[in-house]
Amino acid sequence: MHAIREALAAFRRAPVLTGLSAAMVGLALFVVGLFGLATYNLDLALTSIEERVEIVVFLHDDARQSEIDLVQAELAEIGEVARVRYVSKREALERAQQDLPEFSELFTGMEINPLPQSLEVELRPNARNPEAVERVADAAAGYPYVEDVRYGREWVDKLFTLRRVGGATSAVLGAVFFLVAALIIATALRIAVFARRDEIHVMRLVGATNGFIRLPFLLEGAMSGLLGGLLAWLLTYWVYRGVYAFLFAVAWVPATWVLGGIALGVVFGVVASGLAIRRHLKEV
């Protein structure tokens, strides 16, 4: 009870200082929030591109249905494969007419259908890397009635490199932003604690226990972290709305990220306050 009262009293007695430290926590977390928003959207974009990674297995015109069924079934058995879809010659033609309307007359006028039948192999999300693609493609190419296997090899390689570079960059940047945020929060709360060192000294002097002295500061740190976290959320959301309205469509981060960010603020606040007060508890 005393601790809660004291923590609230601190906000009342020095609204500017506590407000400023909460604002610093908020701005520090805002940077982390922006980074999270950017990373999340980049990841979404890459994933949606990766979804288009597909292997097309072209089949001989004279392949029999039983043979096609066999290839389809065996390819579907491979661990990396999510789905195998059969596209008949007719369906291929219909698609071509739909996708390329300027040639539709040409297609209609033809007496024989020049387009091959095929199997479209869709991979599992975690198997959209060059090695897996190549493995599946090689397996498909081994069948005698398979004419050709296409999957845009260079494109898959580039995409995969991009994913790796992006992952490493975001890990490094994320760690740096985290560290900077942690340092800023630590400094802000150190100042807040320093402003009240007289109280800490008096409390030590008259025989208050360390736990008793510490608790209000930890609560204050938690509150600064919470307020800062909420502020960071608000600022990041504004940026998201701004980008969405004026630049391009972006997705808002999942709720767990928002809650995680706010929880991070609270944890940072508590830890930073705890570290800041430790020094003062040793002075008297």
Binding site: H2, V202, L205, V206
Partner: protein, 223 residues
């Protein structure tokens, strides 16, 4: 009650602040700890308050020994020892009453009793009329009285005062000394560190312990 046995204190850079000091202050005694600046008075006070530990020897305060007590337990000693500083160390921006209730509250006195007890303590130091005044608006003598009321809050067995009159004029000094004698008359021991020999001479009934260069060179009780 307070017993120093062959106490030495060495600081890494300054060297020895105390050398082989032994004395015993009993219940209800009034003692001056005198000596020039740097003679080791403050170090002695800090050792008794367990703000520091001796390099060698033992400091005993009401059953707590410097050899045994951990940093987390010093609060137990502090609740039995009142401490008054030259610079008062009050919390600015709070009233005299709030400065006292603060101490009562942080040492676990129930909320209902805070204000009546703080008023009683301020009454004991003759400051009832100024209870609602901000401490920074009080005179030096009055501020020191608030600090003394605060030191008495835990009902300690001894009052340690480190140059309590150092910042006060003659009249305020006399007032504070009268107050110490009053407190002492109720059975509480008082140990006051001062470099003011004139003041010490005026109080012939008190015990005098004199430090010089970290050594105890004179004890009026001869022990």
């Amino acid at each position: 009650m307070i017993k120093l046995t062959n106490v030495s204190k060495e600081y890494p850079k300054r060297g020895y602040a105390l050398r082989d000091v032994s004395f015993h202050v009993r219940k209800g005694e009034f003692a001056f700890l005198t000596g020039h600046s740097g003679s080791g008075k403050s170090t002695t006070m800090r050792l008794v308050h367990m703000a520091e530990r001796p390099t060698s020897g033992e400091v005993r305060v009401t059953g707590y020994s410097s050899e045994v007590i951990g940093d987390r337990e010093t609060w137990k000693v502090r609740r039995r020892v009142g401490y008054v500083f030259q610079d008062f160390r009050l919390l600015p921006g709070r009233t005299a009453l709030e400065n006292v209730t603060f101490v009562l509250e942080v040492t676990g006195v129930p909320r209902k009793e805070l204000t009546p007890r703080a008023h009683r303590l301020l009454g004991q130091v003759g400051l009832s009329a100024k209870a609602g005044a901000m401490v920074n608006e009080l005179s030096g003598g009055e501020q020191q009285r608030v600090a003394i009321a605060r030191a008495l809050a835990n009902d300690p067995f001894v009052l340690l005062a480190d140059e309590p009159t150092g910042n006060l004029d003659d009249r305020a000094t006399r007032g504070i000394l009268d107050l110490f004698w009053e407190i002492n008359a109720r059975g509480m021991a008082v140990v006051m560190a001062t470099h003011d020999l004139e003041l010490v001479r005026r109080h012939t009934q008190a015990r005098v312990l004199e430090l010089d260069n970290g050594r105890l060179v004179y004890d009026s009780q001869g022990a």
